[in-house]
Structures are given as C-alpha cells and as structure tokens.
Symmetry: C2
Subunit: 403 residues, 2 copies
C-alpha cells in the first residue's frame, strides 16, 4: 500500500458540509471524498543547489476538498482520496519559493541570469496562480501514475473522476477531470466553476487521436459521428456526419466501414467512449479494455484537469456565499438553478444553526431521492451514488478564504 508522506500534517475537521449517499451499486461506495488542511513547507536552495527545508515552522496553509466518483469498483477512488493531496502538497512545495514572491522568478533560485528576466516573466503574464495551476496539473498526473502502479501491483482495476477545490492565498482553485461539477452560489449569482469532460464534450480531441493513431480502434470502431449507428439499409445513402476537424455537419455517402460501432455512441447521459466509459478524463483505468477485445481505453483518457480560479478576495463576500461541489448523481437530477434555490432558501431559513452547511448537504442529497418536498417541485430520482460538499466562503473573524 502506498503511504502518502507527511501524513501527520493532514488534519481534520473544518467548517463545511458534506453529504454522501450510496446507491449500493457495489459493496463499497464508488464515491469517495477527502478534505483537510494543506500545509506547505517552505524550502530553499542550499549552497549545494539542493533543496533544504528551512523554517519548518513557517507554513503556507491552504485547504483542500476533493470528490472522486469511481467506476469498475471503488479501488481507484479510494487510492485517489488517500493520495492526491500528498501529490499536490509535494508539487506545491517544489515551487513554493515562486509562490511567495510577488511574481514568480524566471529562476527558482531567485538568481537573475539575465537582467531583463523579470520583464520576460511579466510579458508572458505569469502570476503566482499559474504555479498553483501547474502544480494541480502535475499532481493529477502523478496521482494517476501512483494509481496505475498500485492497482497493477494489487491486481485491482477501476478508475475515477476527480474534482478538487483548493483554497490558497485568497484564491479558490477548482480542478476537474470528469463529470462532477462545482458551482458558486451567492444571493444574486450562480457561477459555474468547472466544465464536464465526457465523450461528447471532448469529441474532437478523441476523434483526432483516432485519426492520428487509427490502430487504437483495431478496425472495430468507426471514428466518424453519425446521428445514430448506421445499418445495412443506409449503405450508399448520403447521411449526416462529422469528423474530428468539424464543428458543423455535412453529408457523406455511407460505405461499409461506416457501419462499424461508433467511437463515441449515444446521447447525453448515455454517451459512451468505445461503448464502455461515460467520462473522458479521470484517474486510473490503466488496464481497462473494451469487453472481449484487446482495445484499450486509456490512450483516449486524460488525467489532466481543467483548472479555474476564483479570486475570493475580490468578491464582496456575504455570509451565505457557498461553493457546492457534487458528483454527477446530483447534477443528473437537479439543475444549477434548482440547487441554488435549495441553497438560498435553506441557508436564509437556518441562520442560527451551527451545523447548517452539513444539514444543507443532506437536504441536497435528500432531493435526489425523489422525495418531492416542494422545494424543487421535480422529485426526480438519482440511482447513482451522490456526494456533496457545501463550502462556505465567508468566515466571521477570518474575513474570507477557505476555513
């Protein structure tokens, strides 16, 4: 078992709400969560140009929340929940000197090899937050490697999505790989903080890979997109299609090879990559193959997240401003607007309750179970695992930032 370093720095709990419900798709919950303080040690170059930990008592402190939605079992999600924060801390520690400077220096050592180096950095518009984004990107990749090694060593399989929020130096970073979602809910505003990565949203990237490496489809799939899977009766007809380079649609005369199973098939929630997977980014799945074939999924999957930055210090924060992070089980049945309505009505009605954020998370979960309590008037049912974090951005006495 992989043991994350510095585990002692990982502390619980914080003021936030979490709700999780298990749809009992597998013995263990395929949704996994993690959160805690992120304590980054300050390091410096020593005389020998080696890393030295200086002032170990002097920390840069952040906060971390993460949701992992597993598939093919909970193994990858559990590993990710145990590992990703350590990868992130390590990545941040390797660049912390750059983070503490007003602007990241060209050279991490702070040496100025060329007198106009600061100007070059300025012209590229490189800010401290770009180092955090880079650290998140690298941490996801590193964690994916760890999961690949661990699963192989233990003979386990599976993959997971990953949605991470990090509060650091007055900014909230939201990194997403998969189909979970984070939104900011304020009194007069809903701001979407992540995009979903599915076979449909990443169609062009996936089709392009199949165009460059046709051997990945082993002659079993067609790269082209049609409104439905074609059949013998369509042969010779001109039907709607699009290829990797097209945003628009055109018509093509159907050939025999177009009758193969499509690389991306189905619509919306039913869309599948190679008939197998509903997401196009995430961690794990190193061993995953199309049923009864040797065709691998992993070459089409990205472990890199998309990172958005919320400048919390620039918001005139109010007490009921929260970030809602949830796996697809929530968003399948509740829209952003429905969630925002539930958030606003619950929080304004429960101002005195010290546990209101946890209660709110449970209310959101409750609303995915088809109990029409009048708040949404919908009563749609989620048959998936559902996990929710409710993160208040405003903290009395602390000003702003995660807490």
């Amino acid at each position: 078992m992989y043991v994350p370093p510095h585990t002692s720095l990982w502390v619980w709990p914080m003021l936030y709400g979490i709700g999780i419900i298990n749809a009992e798709k597998s013995e263990f919950n395929e949704d996994q969560a993690a959160c805690g303080k992120l304590c980054i040690q300050r390091c410096e170059f020593g005389i020998e140009e080696e890393w030295l930990t200086v002032c170990p008592e002097e920390f840069l402190t952040g906060h971390y929340w993460a949701l992992f939605d597993g598939h093919g079992g909970p193994a990858a999600a559990i590993l990710a929940a145990n590992t990703l924060h350590s990868c992130l801390r390590r990545q941040l520690e390797t660049v912390v000197e750059g983070l503490l400077a007003p602007q990241p220096p060209m050279h991490l050592s702070g040496r100025c090899v060329c007198s106009s180096d600061p100007q070059f950095v300025e012209e590229k518009g490189i800010r401290a937050e770009d180092l955090v984004i880079g650290a998140l990107e690298s941490a996801f990749q590193e964690c994916d490697d760890v999961i690949g090694r661990e699963l192989e060593a233990s003979g386990q399989v599976g993959g997971c999505t990953a949605l991470v929020a990090v509060s650091l130096q007055g900014k909230l970073y939201v990194a997403n790989a998969g189909d979970s979602r984070a939104i900011l809910v304020r009194r007069d505003e809903i701001r979407v903080l992540s995009s979903e990565f599915t076979p449909e949203t990443e169609r062009q990237r996936i089709q392009q890979l199949a165009f460059i490496y046709p051997e990945l489809l082993a002659g079993e799939f067609t790269r082209l997109e049609f409104p439905r899977r074609l059949k013998g009766d369509d042969l010779g007809q001109k039907v709607l299609f699009r290829d990797h380079h097209m945003n628009g649609w055109s018509y093509k005369q159907v050939e025999k090879s177009d009758l193969k199973y499509p690389l991306i098939h189905g619509q919306g929630r039913q869309a599948r990559l190679l008939g197998t997977l509903a997401v196009s980014r995430g961690l794990g799945d190193h061993q995953l193959r199309v049923l009864d074939t040797n065709i691998q999924l992993k070459p089409f999957l990205l472990s890199i997240p998309q990172v958005t930055v919320l400048d919390v210090d620039q918001l005139a924060l109010q007490e009921e401003d929260v970030v809602v992070m949830a796996t697809d089980g929530l968003w399948d049945v509740l829209s952003n607007e429905q969630v925002a309505r539930l958030v606003r009505s619950f929080l304004t009605g429960n101002r005195e309750d010290p546990h209101r954020f946890s209660e709110l998370a449970k209310v959101l979960i409750h609303n995915t179970q088809g109990k029409d309590d009048g708040a949404t008037g919908e009563g749609q049912v989620s048959y998936d695992d559902v996990s929710v974090f409710v993160i208040p951005l405003h903290s009395p006495g602390q000003g702003s930032g995660g807490h």
Copy 2:
C-alpha cells in the same frame, strides 16, 4: 489558372464600405478582398439517385465578404479571393436540400430509413446552420487544396489568412482562419465575432503536434515554452516552463536540448511559429520551409476556420448597426473600443451621406496612419497593409440581413 465555375452568378456591387491601403511591402498588395452575391442553385436527387438541378431559376441567395492577408507575396491571397466563394457555393449546393428543410434530414434524399431518424437529428441538436458551418469548413479546405495545386503548378509560393462573412437566411456567419478580426458595432454594444489564430493562441495544439511527431522539429527546435530563449548560463538551473498539456507554469531543470530555438518564440505581435510565421491558420504555405532547412511549416497550420453565427433576425436592428471586418493592420493600432467610437461618431454625424459606409472605411484606414485627428487621441501608425469592410446590417425596405 484555376477557373471557378458558375462565375457568371457572381455579381457586384452591394451597399457596403471598403477601404484598403497598401504598405508597399511587395509590388502587389498582400491584402486581397472579395465580395458579392452568393446564388445557390436548388438541386434534388433524381430517379437514378443522381444530382439534378431543378428549378434553376429558384435560388437561395446570400451575400459574401472576404479578406485575405497574404505573406510571402500576394499569390495565395489573390488565388483565395478568386476561388473561395466558388468552393463555398459548391459546398452549399451539395447540402441545399438540407438547408431548406425545417431541420436537416438524416438522409439528404429525404428518405426515412428508420422511423425515429428525425428524433436522432433532433437529439443531436443539428440545425440548418450546422450545415452552413460544415460547408464553410469544407470550402476552406477545398480552397487550400486548390491553392496548393495552383502555386505548385505555377512555381509560386506564399500563404494568406482568410476572414469570411456570409449572410444567409437571416444569419451572419463569420469564418476566420488567421489574425484578421470581425466585430459587431451597435449603439450600446460591441460584440467580437471572431478569434485570432496565432502561434500564441494555438500554443497547446502546436506543442502537442510536436509531441506526437517529434520528427517535425528535426532536432533543431525545442517544443517547450520558456519566458525567453535559454542560453548556456541557464544550464542546470530550474526555470519556468510549460509543455503541451499545461495551462499553468512549472519549473524544470535546464538540459542542453532546452537551449534549442523554441517552436514558438516571441511575444504578442512578434510571436513566430518555427521562427518564421506569425499565424497558425490560413490557406497556402504548402512549400514553406524554415530558412536554410528542410523543416516544413504546413503540418502545424490549420486551414479550418472557426465559425461564429450571428442571428441577425433576432437583433432589434438599428440603422447604424455595422460589422467591421479588417486585417491585422487595423487591429494592431486600434482597439475594438477605438474602432467602435470612430464608427458611432462618424455614422451619427453623416446620416444623409449615401456613401457613408465607404467613407467610414476610409476614416478607419486613415486612423491607422498616425494622423491624430482627435477621435482616438492615439495616433499610432500601422506599417502593414490594411483592409476594412464596413457592412451595414440594417437595410431600409429590406428589414434585415445582408444586402
């Protein structure tokens, strides 16, 4: 010389303004323009499943404006100005049956092979405008092929950007490949209708290609981005960098191979692909190589435009609503806001002038020549060719749409 078919259908002139100034970088102007009526014949499947032109008198009529900014001579821009509209008409004619239907049918013949076909098309959200987008994408590709053949046959060289506006069925389509720009200027609104495609804006796509096909760099260039070109003194130091998969920045220890010339070098207007080209999309350049090497530029260039759609029929059009299309020579020295100010003040002050759109185009050109007339208070000078179209969207007696 390639002769576009149906040339007789190409008619001039229309109510619009055009201004062009030659910076005399070459004997012929590297900027070229074209515009005219776009008359699309209605065709149908005959009994033998062959295309028959039916009702030749029944046209679908649109309007077309195009700007081409050449480099390495005017040859590609001239060819594009003579060719692209014919490619577009041909592409539109192959799908015109789909364009005329309320929703494009799954089968161009209109036959319904599967009773739920309309539902599949509906679920994919495919609309008539997607066929126009597809036709524009295909037309750019076809035109690029023609230019490649023509230049090779005539022993000429060069490439060009392409910015095209097409008014059709109440919508304005803006297709862009390169660094020209189109904006909508209204009394209270500026809407950007195109994005620029340069080595900087397409960094990740270009770096990824070099990652997949390292042989394209022939060992002469480094794929990685650094704030400046590295030199011997940087060896062994940890410097800021990013690779194809990164949006953020990180630090890496400099190795000898990092000292090579960067794949993308320079900032802003000075950014160059392989030290050679300032744009990453366009037509032509099939023969272009890095000076004194055999390294080709073309594999990194896309001829596919990005297409945006403006629903003109949905705008409450006012008489002074115009689209301004211009090559980079204008936008290098005037911001969108400066152009909008010039447009608004000129048009409101010249309501009675029947030639005011042409006059306005000339005013815009004039303002790139460093003559500070007080309108912008800037007086910056463009040393590039500059071409401008001013297209009024509102036409008295016609309602809306191109005219």
